[in-house]
């Protein structure tokens, strides 16, 4: 929790570094015309008081969920976030799942065929995955698969004119499934595929490498030999015994994978016209909409902490030796 306070402190300091009058910037036109509004704004955010007090006010607002007001949309940042988060959530979750499935599979294959051709090829591929600029991959993928081949739709989350299913989670695919609207589900999935794969690329490379080395660490352990001595088929030995033992270090990559996806969304959501917080962050950065930038940063940091916490718990689930009794 000390960390949380630290984060808010950093965010606050960064806000203070920016020259200019936040009130004027925020209220825009109104600032010139209406001094009372400016004054109200000042009081609300404690801008006329000394810095430590400002920080306290800031924290106080945070606790009540007030993240300030976006300079661009002139809405509370919080409202902006709640509108854009589901889109990114849908994309992020899909991408991470994809990355884990693909990455772990490839990693196991690479470990099993250690140092032979398959392994070498996978090594190059995985290095390629972590070397690729995500925004460039998005561009190229879009160009090839949308522009030239027409296999996937180009932008947005749904085809134009299609309405999303009744809002339950905000995840179009899940909502469509729940409402039984399979056509909406179909188009949502079509739009989801390309961005999800592009975002997964880096993580697939990462996971392949991690899985490979985790499996190799485990492979020489006695219990693997013992499993063979029981007469179990090699496939069972690998999948059940080896993989399970290799899982803990792989799971810890989960937090890293999430961070990578977050980074990726900032870079590619605008390319895919995906209305998520990545695009929001991008937009805020380019227009220097500070409350928005700070709001997004804080939000993402907090989610990141939660994710890491979940990862720690999962670690205990998989490895009974470190469970807290």
């Amino acid at each position: 929790m000390l960390l949380g306070v630290g984060i808010t402190f950093v965010a606050f300091v960064l806000t203070e570094l920016v020259p200019g009058d936040p009130a004027a910037a925020n209220l825009g036109q109104r600032a010139i015309a209406d001094p009372a509004a400016v004054q109200a704004f000042r009081e609300h955010y404690g801008l006329d008081k000394p810095l430590p007090v400002q920080y306290a006010v800031y924290l106080q607002h945070l606790v009540t969920g007030d993240l300030g007001q976006s300079e661009q949309s002139h809405r509370p940042v919080r409202a902006d976030l709640s509108e854009y988060v589901p889109a990114t959530a849908e994309l992020a979750v899909t991408s991470i799942l994809l990355a884990f499935v693909l990455g772990i599979t490839l990693g196991v294959v690479a470990a099993v065929r250690r140092n032979r051709l398959t392994d070498q090829v996978l090594r190059v591929i995985s290095l390629g995955g972590i070397s690729m600029p995500t925004f460039w991959l998005a561009l190229v993928a879009l160009y090839v698969f949308f522009f030239k081949l027409g296999w996937v739709p180009g932008s947005g989350r749904l085809d134009p004119g299609v309405l999303p299913a009744p809002h339950v989670t905000g995840l179009y695919t899940v909502d469509a499934l729940l409402a039984g609207q399979l056509d909406v589900l179909g188009t949502a999935l079509q739009h989801l595929i390309l961005p999800a794969f592009v975002l997964a690329a880096y993580n697939v490379g990462l996971l392949t490498r991690f899985t490979r080395s985790a499996v190799l660490e485990v492979i020489n352990n006695d219990y693997v030999q013992a499993a063979r001595a029981k007469g179990l088929p090699e496939r069972t030995v690998v999948l059940r015994h080896v993989l399970r033992a290799a899982l803990p270090p792989i799971i810890t990559v989960g937090g890293l994978a999430f961070a990578n996806v977050m980074t990726g969304t900032v870079l590619v959501e605008s390319i895919f016209a995906w209305p998520g917080i990545g695009q929001y962050a991008f937009h805020s950065a380019t227009t220097l909409d500070l409350p928005a930038i700070m709001g997004v940063s804080l939000f993402v940091a907090i989610v990141y902490i939660v994710v890491n916490f979940v990862v720690d718990i999962l670690y205990g689930v998989v490895d009974p030796r470190i469970r807290v009794t």
């Binding site: 630290g6 925004f135 460039w136 090699e234 870079l267 605008s270 930038i293």
Partner: protein, 297 residues
Amino acid sequence: MSVQRLPLRFRISLRRTPGTLGSAWTQPLAIAGMILAGAWILIAIFVPLIAPYDPLAQSSQLVLEPSSAHWFGTDELGRDVFSRVLWGSRLSLPLAFFLVAMAVAVGGILGGIAGYFGGWVDEVIMRATDLVFAFPTIILAMAVTAALGPSLRNAVLAVLVVFWPSYARVVRGLVMSLGQADYVSATRLLGASSRRALVVDVLPNVAGPVMVLATLDLGNAVLLLAGLSFLGLGAQPPTPEWGSMVNTGTQYFERWWMGTFPGFAILSVVLAFNFLGDSLRDALDPRSSWAVQGRDR
């Protein structure tokens, strides 16, 4: 009596260090990495002689497709993309080296201090690294650059802020474990000063893992800088920076050459550094080596 060779099929090799094709440096991947990195370094050095056009020279030949006159085509202001891509190396490569060197220096020193002196110094420095690690890289880098104002210089600063903690952690860990090591105690017992013990005995052992991390971070530095420039927070036009070139490329989507080639340059440079870093890691820790197998005699 029969002689059988047990088949290699779906069997996980139980060998830890198989016969390798010579040392790690002759592995095909290391060679590829060295050639590629070497090529880019040469390009960066000799670009004024190689580039056919001035990267900033605008012309009326707007958004032309690649041709014999302009190998990578021209951009929206009529500038030759090929020359701009080549000149981009002058920006990205030195900056990447500079960034990593500084991150290693700052992180290494802070980490060394933390590990060596322990106590509250250690606590403070570790909390600082925790703080940085709490943010996904680009968010923090974005926030810093946005706060300080979008410019290449500030982007470099932001990346530095994001990179140093990894080194601090690594160096601290190594210093702490080595500090207990017998041979360091022996040196101290013999009367050598603490500082000398640190430099002469501890440093060489710390160098290995740091080198691996640093080589891989070269690639990450290029990616992050390009990413920030792509967002408009780093290099500003008309500077020929690869990331910002890709950004322009997204605005001129059908003119595929404008965004593809700069991005490809990024990919090849990062790939080269990653090939090298991976080979370095193999050389230092053959256990999980991806080495190509030699033939058993």
